[in-house]
């Protein structure tokens, strides 16, 4: 039913279709709520991804810390935020990465929205 709506540029609605695609990736990211899981991932990324059954597309996106690729592979921003946070990045770093800006440019764009 969501499909019947006009697409919103630069925005993917996390509906059932995306949820089916992203399930193993999101499940892995959800596990990062626990410190032990984060340590296990950081000790051997590939093994941890394999444990959750990530697809090759998802594994590559994880390896490359590529936010747009993670989203395209079915990642949900709320679970991805745990992965991103664990890497020491925040939503502005990731905003810059996704929009092809420097972090300073991205911050300036946000500030400009207040004018």
């Amino acid at each position: 039913m969501t499909a019947s709506h006009e697409p919103i540029p630069g925005t993917t609605i996390f509906d059932g279709r995306m949820a089916m695609k992203g399930y193993p990736l999101n499940k892995m990211c959800y596990s990062f709520n626990e410190a032990a899981a984060r340590q296990e991932f950081l000790a051997d990324e590939d093994a941890y991804c394999a444990k959750f059954g990530l697809t090759d597309e998802q594994k590559t996106a994880v390896r490359e810390r590529n936010a747009l690729a993670l989203l395209a592979a079915g990642g949900n921003i709320y679970y991805l935020a745990k992965f991103i946070g664990m890497l020491g990045l925040n939503v502005q770093d990731i905003g810059a990465q996704q929009t092809g800006m420097t972090v300073e440019e991205f911050k300036a764009k946000l500030k400009a929205a207040g004018n």
Binding site: I77, Y78, G85, K111
Partner: protein, 280 residues
């Protein structure tokens, strides 16, 4: 009888939690944001609520996609905070009011709302940041809490119209509780922001200001939007406006505005603060 005395809306983004932890209250970036809150705290000090119903969305701490309820209500003696994956130091637990929780859940289910009752529930920044903004002293917990968690993670999200109705039903439920209690309702999250995609950083000031105005006397106007409209107009996470609509519905038809503040940006977000008092 229990009475809803009013409501407060506020952003709940994690960056606020970090700014509080680092005491950035006078930092030029944060000052215009934090300066909005003393008046909200003054109002709370005056009305002295016994219970806060906190309407928020879980961001992947307590709920995963294996079981994603639309509306969940806590019915626990206390609610724990956890590190959410970022290694943050969890805040002390929040006392609940399970007796009132069960009264509300019974009333809502009989009113044909299909509630998920939660006798254990970890609360994330969506809940803790508003609590810290309104009751900063972490050594005290002057109000009991009832978390109301709304799915904003997995589409379909509940429609704005349904959310306003849920709020109205919460209002009826509280009004029918036989104990003398003062209840405040927090509508958290929003306003416009988007974290994901090429459109990350989207903010819509005009839409935010319109929401801050309409929600006072004309919430029905906001309830007419679809979720798709909200994503388009307020950004993917701007759909959190539905949490404000639940709060607003609970306050009853007539409210008066005590205080408001609006500031862009905090992190990626347009931050709206509003204190509304219910008609006596």
């Amino acid at each position: 009888m229990a009475k809803i005395v009013g409501g407060v809306t506020t952003s709940h983004i994690p960056a606020i939690g970090n700014a509080i932890a680092n005491e950035l209250f006078e930092d030029p970036y944060w000052k215009p944001f934090f300066d909005g809150y003393p008046k909200a705290r003054d109002w709370l000090a005056e009305v002295k609520p016994d219970v806060a119903i906190v309407v928020y969305n879980d961001h992947g701490l307590n709920f995963f996609l294996d079981k994603m309820p639309t509306f969940s209500i806590g019915a626990a003696p206390e609610y724990q905070n956890k590190d959410e994956g970022w290694g943050l130091k969890p805040l002390p637990p929040y006392p609940g009011d399970p007796e009132l929780s069960w009264h509300i859940i019974e009333s809502l289910v009989n009113d044909e709302f299909d509630i998920c009752s939660c006798q254990e529930m970890a609360v994330d920044h969506g809940f803790t940041v508003p609590m810290a903004l309104l009751w900063p002293d972490q050594t005290q917990r002057p109000v009991r809490t009832i978390p109301v968690a709304v799915n904003t993670v997995q589409h379909p999200l509940p429609t704005p119209a349904r959310c306003l109705k849920l709020g109205e039903a919460i209002g009826r439920a509280v009004a029918s509780y036989p104990k003398d209690l003062k209840v405040v309702v927090l509508g958290t999250g929003g306003l416009s922001h988007q974290l994901d995609g090429e459109r990350a950083g989207f903010i819509n000031k005009d839409f935010d200001l319109m929401c801050l105005e309409k929600i006072v006397d004309e919430p029905e106007a906001l309830a007419k939007y679809s979720i798709h409209d909200l994503v388009r107009l307020a950004g993917a996470q701007g759909a959190e406006l539905i949490l404000w609509l639940i709060m607003r519905g609970a306050l009853g038809r007539k409210v008066s505005k005590v205080h408001s503040n609006y500031h862009i940006p905090i992190s990626n977000t347009g931050a709206g603060l509003l204190v509304l008092e219910s008609a006596a």
